[in-house]
Symmetry: C2
Subunit: 333 residues, 2 copies
C-alpha cells in the first residue's frame, strides 16, 4: 500500500486536523464526535444543511462546508457511515431555529443513522427534513444499498440547496429543491483501477491490466460489467447513454454537465472526456449550460471518472451561480 | 497503459478542445499554434503575463489563465517544450502596449524557446521581460536542466504577479516581483509511483512496491535518493528540512505553505501531509500565514506530493489575497 499517511487508523483524524489548521477562516472542526461546521454557525433564522458519510470521497463533504453550501459535515471512517451521535451533535451545532435539512446518500448505514439522528433532534425540538440522494443509474440495488446509490448529484444538491438556504428560503422549500435536484440528476461512473482502503491495505477489487469496470460505485462496489479498455469516446457513450435514457433527458433540455475524477485520474484526461461528452450531448440535442470538471466526489486514489447530468431550470441555474465560499468550491466571493 | 483518452497523439489537442468548450466565459483557445488567452485579451495599458511549458502538469498553466493571473499560456506536447512560434503568437495576442512578462520554468528547452520568442517579439516592438523560476532544492542540475528545476513556486509567481499586473504596476515592477517570489520560494517533491507519458505507453521510471523517490522532478527526473516507504511525518521532514535550510527560512518568518499533489495522490492524504507540515514548521518557529492544498502542478497521474514554502511580506500577502478568476484558481470574484 503506497500512501502518504502515518498509521492507517489515524488517517481520518489527522486529515481533519490538517483541514482544521488549513481552513480556520471558513470552518471549525469538532473532535469526538467528529464534525465540521462553518465558522459562523449557527446562523439565526437560516435553514441549516447537514450532510456526511464515510470519508475517502474528499473534498465531499467536509470541503463543501461554508457560506452558500453546507453548514455541517459528518465524516465517518473511510467508506464507513458516521454515527448518529456525530449527526445529532452537528445538527444541534448548526440549527439556527429555522430547521435543518439532512442530505443523505442512499447507503443503508447512512440512512439508518441519519434517521436515528433526526429522531433524536426532533426530541430536542429541532425540525429536520431528510432528503435521500439516489442518482446512480448503473445498478438497481448494490452492496450496502436498497435501491440506487447516491453519488455525483450529491455535490450539486449541496451547492444548490446551500444557495437556497442562504437566500432565506423555508425548510420545506429547501428540502423540496433538494428533491427536485435529486429527481433531475443522473450519474454513472467507471474505474480503471481499484482504490485501497487504508485499514484493509489491499485493493478493494481486482481489475486486469486491460480491463475497466463500467458502473462502479464510489466504494468500489461492482457495476454493470467489466470489459476491455476502450477509448474515451466509447467510455463517454457507455456512461452517458444510460444517463440520458433514464431520466430521460430530451432534445432541447439545458443541463449541468459534471465530469468527476474518482481521485487518481488527472485533469488532462477529464478534459478529453469532457470534449467527447460535449459532442455526444450535441448529438442528442442537449445544451450544456453549466459545467463542473475536477475531483469532487472521489474514491481515494481510484483511477476513473463519473459523469453526472442535471436538468436545469431558471431557479436551479440561478442557485448554482450564487456565491459559494468553501475549501473545495468557491466563486463569486 | 490505463488512461481515459482516445489516441495518445491527440491527448493535448482534445484536452484543449475540452477546456475551450468548458471555459469559454474565461478563456479563448487558439489552435495551430496552440495557446490560450484570457477572454478579454489584450487589455490596453496592462502588463501581460505569458507562461507555458510541456503539458501534463494541469491545471498549470492553462488553468491559470484569467483575471488576476496569466494572460496567456502555451501548452507543449506532454512534457515537451512549446515552440517559439506558440510563445510569439501568444505574446502578440495579449500585449496591451505595456509590455509582457514571460514566466519561464528552468528547463533547457523552455529557456531557449522563450528566449527566441522574446527576441522575435522585440523585433515587433513588444517589450518583454523574462523571469526564470528555479526553486527546486532537490538537485543542483538535472535531466533537461542547467541549475535548479522550476516547480511549485511557478504557481505562486503566476498568482502574485498576475495580481500586480492587474493593479497597473509597470513591466519592471511586475518582473521584479516575479524575481522576488522566485528568490523567496523553495520546493521539494517526492513520488510513490511513476507516471506514464501517453506517447511512451510505459512508466517513465520503475519504483519497487516498498520504495519512494525523494526529490523527484515533475517529469519523473531522478531526485536525491530512493528509499523505503516512510510515514507522512518522516516524508514531511525529508522534504521540508532541505527547503527550510536552503533559503534559509528563519524563526519568525511568515510563509505561504503549498502542499501539492503530483496528480494521483488524493486530498485526504494531502491534509495528513499538511497536518504534519504544520507541526514541523511550528517546531522551526515559522508561521503559516497562507496555504494552498491540492493538485496544482501535477505530473499526469503520478502519486506523490511536493511542498513549497514562500516567504511572505505584506506586499506579497496582499497580492496573494487579491481576486483571481481562472478555471483552476478562483476567489474574491
Amino acid at each position: 500500500m503506497k500512501k502518504l499517511i502515518n498509521r492507517p487508523e489515524d488517517v481520518v483524524l489527522e486529515s481533519l486536523q490538517g483541514a482544521a489548521h488549513a481552513h480556520s477562516d471558513l470552518v471549525r472542526v469538532n473532535f469526538d464526535p467528529h464534525y465540521m461546521v462553518r465558522a459562523d454557525a449557527p446562523i439565526s433564522g437560516k435553514v441549516a444543511l447537514v450532510s456526511g458519510g464515510g470519508s475517502g470521497h474528499e473534498p465531499m463533504h467536509g470541503g463543501f462546508v461554508g457560506m452558500g453550501m453546507l453548514d455541517a459535515a459528518c465524516p465517518g471512517e473511510v467508506f464507513t457511515s458516521p454515527t448518529p451521535d456525530q449527526m445529532l451533535e452537528a445538527t444541534k451545532a448548526v440549527d439556527g431555529g429555522a430547521g435543518v435539512v439532512h442530505i443523505v446518500k442512499n447507503y443503508t448505514g447512512d440512512i439508518l443513522n441519519f434517521e436515528m439522528a433526526a429522531d433524536l433532534a426532533k426530541e430536542e425540538s429541532i425540525q429536520v427534513e431528510a432528503v435521500v440522494i439516489d442518482d446512480d443509474v448503473a445498478v438497481k440495488d448494490s452492496l450496502y444499498t436498497a435501491g440506487r446509490r447516491g453519488v455525483g448529484t450529491t455535490v450539486l444538491a449541496e451547492k444548490i440547496c446551500g444557495a437556497a438556504a442562504e437566500q432565506g428560503r423555508s425548510l420545506k422549500d429547501v428540502a423540496d429543491i433538494c428533491r427536485t435536484v435529486n429527481s433531475s440528476g443522473r450519474t454513472m461512473g467507471m474505474a480503471l483501477t481499484s482504490c485501497i482502503v487504508p485499514s484493509a491495505g489491499e485493493p478493494t477489487f481486482q481489475l486486469g491490466d486491460d480491463e475497466m469496470e463500467i458502473g462502479i460505485g464510489i466504494h468500489g462496489e461492482p457495476g454493470r460489467e467489466r470489459s476491455a479498455l476502450a477509448p474515451s469516446k466509447e467510455v463517454v457513450e457507455r456512461l452517458a447513454e444510460p444517463i440520458v435514457s433514464d431520466l430521460p433527458f430530451e432534445r432541447g433540455d439545458e443541463v449541468l454537465a459534471f465530469v468527476n475524477s474518482m481521485g487518481g485520474t488527472p485533469l488532462i484526461e477529464l478534459y478529453v472526456i469532457y470534449n467527447d461528452l460535449v459532442r455526444y450531448l450535441e448529438g442528442k440535442g442537449l445544451k450544456i449550460a453549466r459545467n463542473l470538471i475536477g475531483p469532487y466526489i472521489t474514491s481515494l486514489e481510484m483511477a476513473g471518472c463519473s459523469i453526472t447530468l442535471l436538468k436545469l431550470d431558471d431557479d436551479l441555474t440561478s442557485l448554482w451561480d450564487a456565491p459559494v465560499k468553501t475549501p473545495g468550491l468557491r466563486w463569486g466571493v
